[in-house]
Symmetry: C3
Subunit: 433 residues, 3 copies
Amino acid sequence: MALPFATNMRFKFSSLALSLQVILIILFAIFVSYDTPHHEDSHGNSTHQEDEFIKLYPLFQDVHVMIFIGFGFLMTFLKRYGFSSVGINLLIAALGLQWGTLMQGLWHLHDGQINIDIKKMINADFSTATVLISFGAVLGKTSAVQMLIMAIFEIAIFACNEHLVVTLGAFDVGASMIIHAFGAYFGLAAARVLYRPALKNGHENEGSVYHSDLFAMIGTVFLWMFWPSFNSAIAEPGIDQQRAIINTYFSLAACVLTAYAFSSLVEHKGKLDMVHIQNATLAGGVAVGTCADMNIHPYGAMTIGFIAGIISTLGFKFVTPFLASKLKIQDTCGVHNLHGLPGLLGGLAGIVAAMLGAKEGASAGIQAAALAATIGVALVGGAITGFILKLPFWGQPPDQNCYDDSLYWEVPLDEEEQPNHYQEDQSKMKVDA
Amino acid sequence: MALPFATNMRFKFSSLALSLQVILIILFAIFVSYDTPHHEDSHGNSTHQEDEFIKLYPLFQDVHVMIFIGFGFLMTFLKRYGFSSVGINLLIAALGLQWGTLMQGLWHLHDGQINIDIKKMINADFSTATVLISFGAVLGKTSAVQMLIMAIFEIAIFACNEHLVVTLGAFDVGASMIIHAFGAYFGLAAARVLYRPALKNGHENEGSVYHSDLFAMIGTVFLWMFWPSFNSAIAEPGIDQQRAIINTYFSLAACVLTAYAFSSLVEHKGKLDMVHIQNATLAGGVAVGTCADMNIHPYGAMTIGFIAGIISTLGFKFVTPFLASKLKIQDTCGVHNLHGLPGLLGGLAGIVAAMLGAKEGASAGIQAAALAATIGVALVGGAITGFILKLPFWGQPPDQNCYDDSLYWEVPLDEEEQPNHYQEDQSKMKVDA
Amino acid sequence: MALPFATNMRFKFSSLALSLQVILIILFAIFVSYDTPHHEDSHGNSTHQEDEFIKLYPLFQDVHVMIFIGFGFLMTFLKRYGFSSVGINLLIAALGLQWGTLMQGLWHLHDGQINIDIKKMINADFSTATVLISFGAVLGKTSAVQMLIMAIFEIAIFACNEHLVVTLGAFDVGASMIIHAFGAYFGLAAARVLYRPALKNGHENEGSVYHSDLFAMIGTVFLWMFWPSFNSAIAEPGIDQQRAIINTYFSLAACVLTAYAFSSLVEHKGKLDMVHIQNATLAGGVAVGTCADMNIHPYGAMTIGFIAGIISTLGFKFVTPFLASKLKIQDTCGVHNLHGLPGLLGGLAGIVAAMLGAKEGASAGIQAAALAATIGVALVGGAITGFILKLPFWGQPPDQNCYDDSLYWEVPLDEEEQPNHYQEDQSKMKVDA
């Protein structure tokens, strides 16, 4: 009878993680090679391939920081879920970058091999982003086992959808659609299936504390700073890549002003709300993604960021409560507001930019088809994955233990902090007295 | 009657932020373009301009981290002002980089346009640094509205002074004078005007707590590590840029040793003081700025760092209390010790280096003129801005609410942390008992 | 009588630090120059040397972040030793990079001069890593004076051993042997000499608290992300360097899965242990170091990471208690598990790779000799240094004050946090009542 909530992960988790890793090593042995340049002998004179690797490596590292520090710490805002946020983030992403290398590479085999170069590493990191976004929707309500399973399914589906969008001929250099909207709607669909009625009035651990909000700001600021690298890392070198950097830089700056303005506008007494600041300031990076490398002019990018900051903040204030109460979607981190709505806005901006001729070869119809396909695949894929995750033997936490690290982690001092220590001191003092 | 302390920012703040952002978008639409390379057709063969962009981009990102993580977290040392420190830092810098692009670019129009390239982005980030330094002087005693206004004025005045210094023919590659000394004396002049007699004996929230000092160290260490990028980002590529990196690297290392030594020397029982470690270890980066790209030899750079660490630590111990008690300048973060005195030292080092012929074309007289002009412009500009900020309708906090996030932010759990939670538990236990 | 525990560092520490810095400046004046390119006149057309500097600079900065943020914050896991962890880390590394420049450079003089280029800066940072690793073994049980002395001795010995290994003709691009194993066994030998019987049953300050574990994760994640730069920074540009990046990337990813799996497997109720996650996830970076640039194939790198994650976690569970109880080695941070065992594994992997012909010119016998020599030099050097550190006038802390910042630092609020504040409030409430 206790099966559904058997949360001791000792054998389930370790055997799953080890099996996955063994399978990955075998698949890598069969399919994955280094990308050997054509002219190995031309020493001294660096080849084009060598140049690209070392030129893009700093952008790769920026993206890497976004994935592991950015996403990881952004989710530490919960008062008692920081270990899981940053720890399971690392676990999922470490699995995901290996699995993503395979799933994306299988669409581009050369002589039956996936040849690893810097772009494949950037794309592998990108593929993990989708899972980390979806993780935000179900944060605190799932086990590590469930997250490993979600990573396997979501990255496989993501790679198919990405291939579909590329095949259609759509543009999405900063991945507003194929990563952000995809990850958000996949996660929301899974969250819908995993709905927990007992949490509909919230949970005492669902809030933040002062220092956990500061930890989350580490994530926010690293994401904010390095987003120009995210949106430009796989752009065509030269003017396209530069445009992607410039547009993202200014979109994010504009977005900050509107996120702050609307946070103050919608809150009691005009105070700023950390949830908005941590998330809505980033919406400009998401929303400018699809047309980041297009000729939309800096003021065009700023306009996109301006709108993104507004819709994201309003999303937190009005859409999230609606989703929770009416649609039974409990979105822990509000990924709908950071990735969902701004991802849609990015897709729409791409359609408009294509209409206005901002990108040679872009078609509004194809952009729209890519957006629609992405949302559809994400919702269906997320729902199916949700049903798999709902099977009652993956160690999901009971309602009362949600948002609580101590279920899956050794937490110092009986799950509590120094106050205990001082309470003990107090007790001693009382005894002494 | 309640007007001077009407701190509800709901409409004032949001309407100001939105208006500024709308105006910026309009000005960008008129004045700002991408920097299009001359030969767009030469695909495959990267142009000089393209090379510069991608070569300097990692240095830009280092500077970006200094502005947003470095300055932001350095100021989180206050026990109850972390949200404002990192949050308002982000707000000011996001506004400032847009406004700085315009203010600096207007001096260098091409066909009536500002063409954005990587150096303009680096300079835009630089221009925000001045405001963030000044922010440190008035931290905890001003509202977000006041800071937006200060950003507008300070960056405009900074851009004029920078243009003046360049026109004079002075050298200041790492901006000891035009950013650090300028930002510090501007902020101190404003702080003088905004003097609060009621705070002359301190304020209960003005100190740090254990974890807030660790958050501040995140800022310190990122500033420390990336300062070589700050001092070299706009240097002439090649040997000048390399010298700027090497000199800053060794100046900072030497500065750490003297900052620690003097912290122990001046403190009670020889203990180290976090305030010194967080700030004075960085003085070597400030002080070597003006002559960073000059041929001062590594040991010359180390000597500058050696002195900077000493004067900065002594500044905290002896000058800051003097400024507060005698000159009525309440310098919250001690920016005079991190940016003011080391900035002056940097200016003087530049004069000496010019005398010694360490830089072709440099003149000691012109360097001295640039230093004097910068201090003068900063003091006058800061004082005028201070009077504007003193107008009684910008929502500045009442004395008793200084250094307190809860005035402007939704702070979790009635402005307090988990202890409350445990107190409740205790209460429950008492009730149970 | 109080001499051995005279922990007031006022004059000892400050005079030592100042003397060292003055000596360093004098030695730099005599021995250290910029690396001037051969053709200074060829402006516009960047030389090979100039290209190398700016190409490797981002990798240098990644290594820099690992040294100062990575190592510094990794050690903040202790509840009351965060100031020392990140602060003394900065101090040691700032001294060490200057001293390392000299000690390594003296083996490669040109016309009696050490010409600073980017590789010398990277190597200087590397040399500090050995001391920071050893610092982890004695963390909480030593004074800043002792650490300055250890830095001087250890870096000198490290530079000799490195020269020996290079002279032998061994390969160790990512320094599994000459940095990680060396630093670990040096530190363990010193810790053995400094054994404190009174701490054999632990110390109340030796554990972590919730937020200190999160600060430590900042260190972990930055180390994890930038390890590919560490292992490739001084590799031959081109294919070797790319291989080093790719191998490290995948080794680390595989290592995460096995570290998590074994953490859950060996812990009570299958919970994850933060100590394992903070450290064992990095073992893959250490272990793949020696053969990072060799043709071991991605799956070979993953296999090394797979094993490293297992032995590191098992090391924490079984070897560390054994070392403490049987060998009287109290290894505060478990550096034996993060650097010692994985460093040995890396040395062994290098021997096997040489046998398999993965590196042209590599010999299994020479690799084995290099490994044996490194361990031997480290153990002897560490033991000698330990005896020097044991001299009773370096201000080492008494047993009861171990792991406690307040001995050497001004700590806010009588060494305690806000709880005090609330206790006061409670007291007031009681008084009011």
